[in-house]
Structures are given as C-alpha cells and as structure tokens.
C-alpha cells in the first residue's frame, strides 16, 4: 500500500464517520450522569462536614449546575467541539491539564501491553501450531486456557505477592521511585522496573486470546490452496510457514488487537487500581465518586478519540500487511 491520495481520502472519511459516534458517547454519558444521585456541589458540601442549603445553591450556581439540563448539554457540546473540556471544580484545574498529565502513564501501560500481548501471542501460537498435538502444543494450549480464565486484578495481587513481597525483585506499586530523584537513564530504568508487573498483569488475558487465535489461524491456513501450491513447487516447510502462512495468520490477530483497545482501557482501570499506577483509569474512578462529571466526561471523550485513532492505525497496518485489501 502506498500512501497515495486514495489513502488520505480514506483516512479523512474514516475520521468523519467517527465524529457522530464520539459525540453520541459524550451525549449519552452526559445524560446518564445527570441521573446519578448527588452532584459536585453536594459532595464538596458533604466533605466540608455539611453546609447550609444556601451555600450548596451558591456552589451550583458557580459550577453552572443550576441551569436546565439541555442548556448544560448544549453548552458542554459547544465547548467540546472547540476542544475545551471545561474545568474540574474538584481539583481546581482545567480538565485538559489533568487528563494530559495522566495520559502519558496510561499510554505507556497500554502500549507496552499491546506490544507484549501481540508479540507473545503470535510467538506462542506459532510455537503451538508448528507442533500440533505434541507436548509443546499441549503445554501452551493449557496455559492459554488457564490464563484466559484468570481475573486480572487477582493475578496482579499474586504477582505482587511473589515478585515484590517474597522475592523482592520488583517494586510493588507506583510508576517510579519519586523520592530517589532519578534522572536520565536511571529514571527510564526505574520506570521500566515499575512497568513490568502491570504490563504482565494486563497482557495475560489478551496474550492467551491471541495465542489461541494465532494457533487456530495457522492451522486454518495450512490447508489452503496456496500452501499446497508452495509445497508442490518444492518450498521447504520452514519457508512455507514463515514466509506464507505466518503473514496470513497474523491478520486476524492484528484486527482483534485493534478492536480491543477500548476493552484494554477498561481493563487498565482495575490494573491501575491494583498497582497504584497514576493513569487515566484511576483518575476516572476517582472522578466518578467525587461527582466530578466534567472530568469523567473528558476522559470518556478522550478515550473514545483514542480508540478511533488506534482502530484507524490498525486498519492502515492491515492495509500494509495485506495488499489484496483495497481502500475503496
């Protein structure tokens, strides 16, 4: 696939199609959150140990919560479309500043997870499929079935128990050792050490899924005509596997990985809570209980945009991997 004008048109069209979906998500969540008991004003008043109703009313007026719902919604949409995500009264900071501060850690965790799960999944699937019904295949398949059934948050705790508490190899929580004031490569190394357990925890489920998909896809492809052709023209099994079958079998895994970016973001809420990882998931969770709806809506908006972009990127990778697919 060349990056010609056709591809550019395709990218623009895809982005345009995503706009109504993203707006729909914002509107739906906005309306849902209106149904929640309590708002930011009551939470703030409650934390102050109770407040007279006049004060709560005053807070509402300041936050703009006293206006009718549809006015609030239209105002919010107008702001979002001009990329202004509003103000978090709870944290006394603009929502965009808060979110951008947390975006880095989440992207780091998600990127590492995506990379680890796809690479290991493809590799393990390949190892299993090239040795069907031997002990190697059985061990990998059984491990995948078990990993597929393991609750993320639990395996995270068990990894902390083993590697941080008993063996003391890796740090328990957080993203870096803040009091160590590491700089340069020391800091990178420190963050990498903190990243290992959360990444393994979040990858495990997806790795299991991709391993099984990869194995099935490899076995599926083995019976195809092009493999028979390759074999009859005298190619070695190795060459057939690595040059022909592998490329075709990777496609469904790549698609699946793209589709699951949204679910990965959801899963990171749990993992971030287990490892006290300072990411978007934790921020979303805290904002929900503080009734900080501007912040929560901002996170939903941003993660929807993120999913759209990653899906688009995955489709472009797909185009590059499979020249048969046409952008039209």
């Amino acid at each position: 696939m060349a990056l010609g004008p056709k591809t550019a048109v395709y990218i623009v069209r895809r982005l345009a199609q995503a706009v109504p979906v993203v707006i729909g998500i914002v509107v739906l969540n906005f309306l849902l959150l209106q149904l929640a008991p309590g708002d930011a004003a009551t939470v703030l008043a409650g934390e102050a140990g109770g407040a007279p109703p006049e004060y709560v009313a005053q807070l509402r007026e300041r936050f703009g919560l006293d206006r009718p719902t549809h006015v609030q919604l239209l105002l919010y949409l107008k702001n979002v479309l001009s990329l202004d995500l509003g103000y978090s009264f709870r944290n006394s900071m603009p929502v965009s500043t808060l979110i951008l501060g947390r975006l880095g850690p989440t992207l780091l965790l998600m990127g590492a997870t995506l990379l680890a799960s796809v690479l290991c999944g493809v590799l393990l699937g390949l190892l299993a499929a090239t040795a069907v019904n031997t002990w190697r295949d059985r061990v990998i398949s059984v491990a995948a079935v078990i990993a597929y059934a393991t609750p993320l948050f639990w395996i995270g705790l068990m990894l902390i128990l083993l590697f941080s508490i008993k063996l003391e190899w890796l740090p328990t929580t957080g993203m870096e050792d803040v009091v160590a004031f590491n700089e340069g490569w020391d800091r990178v190394l420190d963050i990498a050490r903190h990243l290992v357990l959360p990444t393994v925890t979040l990858s495990l489920f997806y790795m299991a899924l991709y391993t099984r998909m990869m194995r099935a896809a490899m076995l599926d492809q083995r019976g195809m005509d092009y493999v028979v052709t390759a074999r009859s023209k005298g190619l070695s099994e190795r060459l057939i596997t690595y040059r022909h079958v592998l490329r075709n079998a990777v496609l469904p895994v790549v698609t699946m990985a793209g589709v699951q970016v949204g679910s990965l973001l959801g899963g990171s809420v749990v993992v971030e809570s287990v490892f006290a990882w300072p990411g978007l998931g934790q921020l979303a969770f805290q904002s929900l209980f503080a009734r900080d709806f501007n912040l929560l809506l901002g996170i939903f908006f941003l993660s929807a945009c993120l999913v759209v972009l990653v899906n688009l990127a995955v489709d472009l990778v797909y185009l590059a991997l499979d020249p048969r697919i046409n952008v039209d």
């Binding site: 729909g24 998500i25 078990i146 609750p151 948050f153 639990w154 705790l157 068990m158 099935a216």
Partner: protein
C-alpha cells in the same frame, strides 16, 4: 440427536472434568445456607487464622469464616453471571434476529450501536452504570447485560442473514408463514448452537466482570462475593496471603470450568468442525 450430543460431550475429557467441577460449584453454592448456616458476614473466631486449621480456609481480618464466604459468594457470582447472560443473550438475539431478517433501519441502528460499544471502554461504562444506579445485584446484572449484548446481536445478525437466503426459508415465505413464525420457528432453531456456545462462554466473562466490580468496591453491600473478599483482603497481602489467594482460585476454577464446558458444547454441537 440429544443422546449422541451427550455421548460426544462426555467423551471430551476436559469438558467432562469442567462439567463435574461446575456441578460441584453449583451444589456448594446452592447448598451454602445448609453447609454454612448463618450470616457469611458474621464473626466466627480469631482473625487471620491460617487455612486448614480449625476452619477449612482460615479466617479473614475480622475473623469471618473464609470457606463460608466462598460458598455464599459462589451464589452471588453464579446468579449474577447467569441472569446477566440470559438478559444479554435474549436482547442480543432478538435485535440481531430482526436486524438480520429485515435489514434496513434496524440493521443500521444496530451496527451504530455495536460501533458505539466498541469505541467506549466497556468496563468503565459498567462502573458508571453501577455507580449511577447504586450498587445492588440488580444494577450489576443490568450493567453487565448492557455491555454484553452487542457481540451476541452481531453474531445472530450474521447467522440470520446467511440463513435467510436458504431454500427452506424461501419455501416458508412462499407458504405464507408469518414473519414471527419464520423467525422463531424456522430460522432460530437452526442458528441456536452458536448462540448457546457464545452464551455459555459469556457466563464466564460476566462472572469475571462481577468480580472486578466487587473488587473495586462496587459490589452489592448485602451479598458476599468473591471479588469483595479479594478487595477486602488486599491490604493484608503481606501477612495473610490466603485472604486474597483463595477467593481468586475459586473464581479461576469456576470460570475455567465454564469455559471448558462451553467449548465442549461447541465441539459436540459441531462434530464436523472438530478437526484439531
């Protein structure tokens, strides 16, 4: 057919083991009030008693019997998993059937919906739903069902679109059968097996989601659950690992056995597809 199905299923060793364990879990869970009478939140002895002593799985930080918690928690997990799946599969099947049969605007709306649920982080959405409705068994079931139905609808839609063109359906249309009769009496029985398989695997996913919600403190405060036990034991991981380890193993084994049964059903329903 049912007899040969059963024979094929039971000959599949992992599926048979899974089924046996699942039956065990169901018996223990349903019999929890008999085996472990009294409130699972009640204090029975000293806190932090290790497992395999006076109490099978020991006691937790408040001196509650962990084995009783596991048995009663199983009721919550199985109930939530089952009911949420039934709701999600019913809604998904109905919408998927209409979309696949009639196409048109129902189909468009459905596809937009699926896109929507692929774009939103579903677990985060479930958290918001539960928090809005305030945590209870009903709200948890509803939240899980809301995020689970779209894949079923997509699956059923595809099946209906393919089956709609088959000759027996065309014949039924020519005979003047009503749409409802064609959908529910002609097509649905023919596409039931993938729905059953997807549904049985969904029970496992629903149990995992319920456990994660309870772990985060969004479980029903009046019902003991495995996720809640892990969440409550978290702070004592260093000194009392079994508070977290045991409920997690219960979740793992239950979900694993449901998955094995689901795959066994799949293999037994489609003997021709079983090439591996």
């Amino acid at each position: 057919m049912p007899q040969s199905f059963w024979r094929r299923f039971i000959r599949n060793r992992p599926a048979a083991v899974g089924l046996a364990f699942l039956v065990f879990v169901v018996v223990v869970s349903l019999g929890a009030p008999l085996f472990f009478a009294g409130d699972p939140f009640g204090i029975v002895g000293k806190p932090f008693l290790p497992p395999f002593g006076a109490y099978l799985f020991g006691t937790d930080s408040l001196g509650r019997d962990i084995a009783a918690g596991i048995a009663h928690g199983g009721r919550t997990s199985l109930m939530v998993g089952l009911v949420a799946t039934i709701v999600a599969v019913s809604v998904g099947t109905l919408l998927g059937a209409f979309a696949g049969f009639y196409r048109g605007w129902i189909d468009d709306v459905l596809m937009r919906f699926t896109e929507f649920f692929q774009t939103i982080p579903t677990f985060l959405f479930a958290i918001v739903l539960v928090a809005i409705m305030s945590p209870s068994r009903a709200s948890i079931v509803l939240a899980i069902a809301v995020i689970s139905w779209p894949p079923i609808a997509r699956l059923v839609r595809g099946q209906f679109m393919a089956t709609r063109e088959r000759e027996f359906v065309q014949a039924a249309i020519c005979l003047g059968m009503t749409d409802a009769a064609i959908i529910f009496r002609q097509i649905l029985p023919n596409v039931l097996s993938p729905i059953i398989v997807a549904g049985s695997l969904m029970v496992a996913t629903a149990i995992l989601i319920e456990a994660a919600l309870a772990f985060l403190g969004l479980g029903d405060p009046n019902a003991m659950s495995w996720g809640f036990m892990i969440g409550a034991g978290r702070s004592f991981l260093r000194d009392a690992w079994w508070l977290c380890a045991i409920p997690g193993i219960a979740i793992l084994l239950t979900v694993l056995s449901i998955n094995l049964v689901g795959e066994g059903v799949n293999d037994a329903l489609n003997p021709r597809l079983r090439t591996l």
